[in-house]
Symmetry: C2
Subunit: 332 residues, 2 copies
């Protein structure tokens, strides 16, 4: 019988994640108990938040234990079922971990329509990252037509949706990304009005040029020096949706944010959020985004790495910004 390939957390990273922080094992697939079903995972999602799960710092979710399967969402097909709600052959998305097979009782697992959009989209533009973009931009930033929306990590799975939602809301959308290739993609394909390359230096000057009317909404995925620089171009009464701080996830000492004063003098609202706090909006967002993707109204890119055994390296590459759009592992 086929074995289950699992990626376990082997060690808590000290600074940058290393491939040796993971261990890849082959284990037998246990038999099903009543209420359970077996999923063959086709796609694994790799997301920045997973870096947080590897650490034992206090966060909004429990850390993965050493020796445990790494936490993560997959899309897969039900191969066998002792749960009447999930029938054999159906496709599902859920937090089923970095492994080729998962046994689950269905908690946090949803059925998906494989005919509407490619199934891996439920891990990206039609899944958690898309819903994150939706909730952060529309619920926290509340952009008004004519305003300027600035998005860091603009070509990532979340940022690229933020940019398109901002344009749909009648805003000027400005991205921040690393390198000319990503910036060209942001403007030419995603539809950002401008994109600033933070790797080319003079970020503040370039932000001022790209955001001549200042910034009303800042969708923050990066943190650190980039976020601190954005503080200089915020308008009075602007809003910051604090979605991620990827620049600091692998740092052993946190960046010191100097421009807190901007939040005071500009009367800024900054709000941290986690997409799973808003289950009400999550399903609404995923439904709308799926239909828009099916209708060709939303564009997206994927960076696909083959083989679950390559997930650790692909994950590290994503944390370094080597991907364009959604980083996926094709398991099977």
């Amino acid at each position: 019988m086929e074995q289950n390939t699992q990626v376990l957390l082997a060690a808590r990273p000290d600074g940058w994640v290393k491939t040796s922080d993971f261990e890849i094992v082959e284990t037998p697939i246990p038999s099903l108990k009543d209420g359970e079903f077996l999923v063959k995972n086709h796609w694994l999602s790799l997301d920045p938040y997973m870096r947080g799960r590897m650490a034992d710092a206090k966060s909004y979710a429990k850390p993965v234990a050493i020796g445990e399967v790494m936490a993560g969402a997959t899309v897969g097909q039900v191969m066998a079922s002792k749960n009447p709600a999930f029938t054999e052959g159906g496709f599902v998305v859920g937090r089923l971990g970095w492994q080729s097979y998962s046994i689950t009782s269905g908690d946090g697992v949803s059925q998906i329509d494989p005919t509407l959009v490619p199934i891996q989209n439920y891990l990206g533009v039609c899944g958690m990252p898309g819903a994150t973009a939706w909730i952060g931009l529309l619920e926290i930033c509340e952009p008004k037509p004519g305003e300027t929306v600035l998005v860091s990590a603009a070509t990532g799975a979340v940022g690229s949706v933020v940019g398109q939602l901002a344009k749909a809301a009648g805003c000027r959308a400005v991205g921040i990304a690393g390198g000319t290739k990503k910036c060209s993609y942001a403007v030419d394909e995603i539809g950002f009005d401008a994109c600033v390359d933070y790797k080319s230096g003079n970020l503040l000057k370039k932000l001022k040029e790209a955001c001549q009317d200042g910034v009303d909404c800042s969708f923050e995925n990066v943190g650190g020096e980039i976020m601190d620089t954005v503080m200089h171009v915020l308008n009075p009464f602007s809003r910051i949706a604090l979605c991620g701080l990827i620049s600091g996830y692998n740092e052993t000492s946190p960046y010191g944010m100097k421009m807190i004063r901007s939040i005071l003098v500009n009367r800024v609202k900054m709000q941290g959020f986690i997409v799973f706090d808003r289950t009400d909006l999550y399903s609404k967002a995923v439904k709308k985004l799926s239909h828009w993707v099916a209708e060709g109204k939303i564009t997206y890119r994927e960076t696909v790495t083959d083989g679950i055994e390559n997930a650790p390296e692909a994950f590290i590459g994503m944390l370094k910004g080597q991907n364009l759009g959604k980083q996926l592992i094709k398991i099977t």
Copy 2:
């Protein structure tokens, strides 16, 4: 005829304010034009925000020009009037500057009832600081009964009102102040449940002891290392009303805030605010607070310095935290 004693801004401070950054002059009182009236200022308010007006950094209000009368609120009596809305003998509060007499057309000047509370209260508990406490706590923090409200600069003009409003809202109120004298005053007179002395070391440990259920609302007046330490005790979904950053006002390089991550993982809302943005609530707050003070329901303290010529030194003392409660200058 009597001369007008005025305190002018002589130089923009570089780091800590010095008395030589001010110049005291005697000038003749000009005659009134139609629509104007003459106010003899009895009390001058000294407030941390004035440090911002001395600098030419971009802020929410224009800086005071060199050679101009320092900006500030006073309470005084109308001595002569060519404005039918303000009759001779009436008492007023307004932004009339650091001077013993002011001529004004009444813009931003309000009439006050000198029989309800002592007139200088309209500069403190029944004025801008009281309204600031009200708006920041009730509108931004939205405390719920049973929650813990943490207030820095707890014995200041704003903080002492925040503490009492928090208790009235059914919350546990915890203060942060400098020194045992202030902390005793906070607990014994203002009614805080606990007060942590930031000068005695081990702030984080003491905050954890004083806020065993964590912090749901943080009313931030201080910033810097104190604010950064508070980030460690924030609860999920807590709210920070960012009112002031007094610890940094005289620093030449800003403190680097390390715990921004807490805003993300705890899904915190942090909002900067300026009381004058909420004129709707300002009058409501002042009215309620004045009646509560008159009924003895709100306690407050004043630190009074005699003589407008001593305003620069008293202002510097206030920035160093030498006052208890509202810092006032008794002009006449």
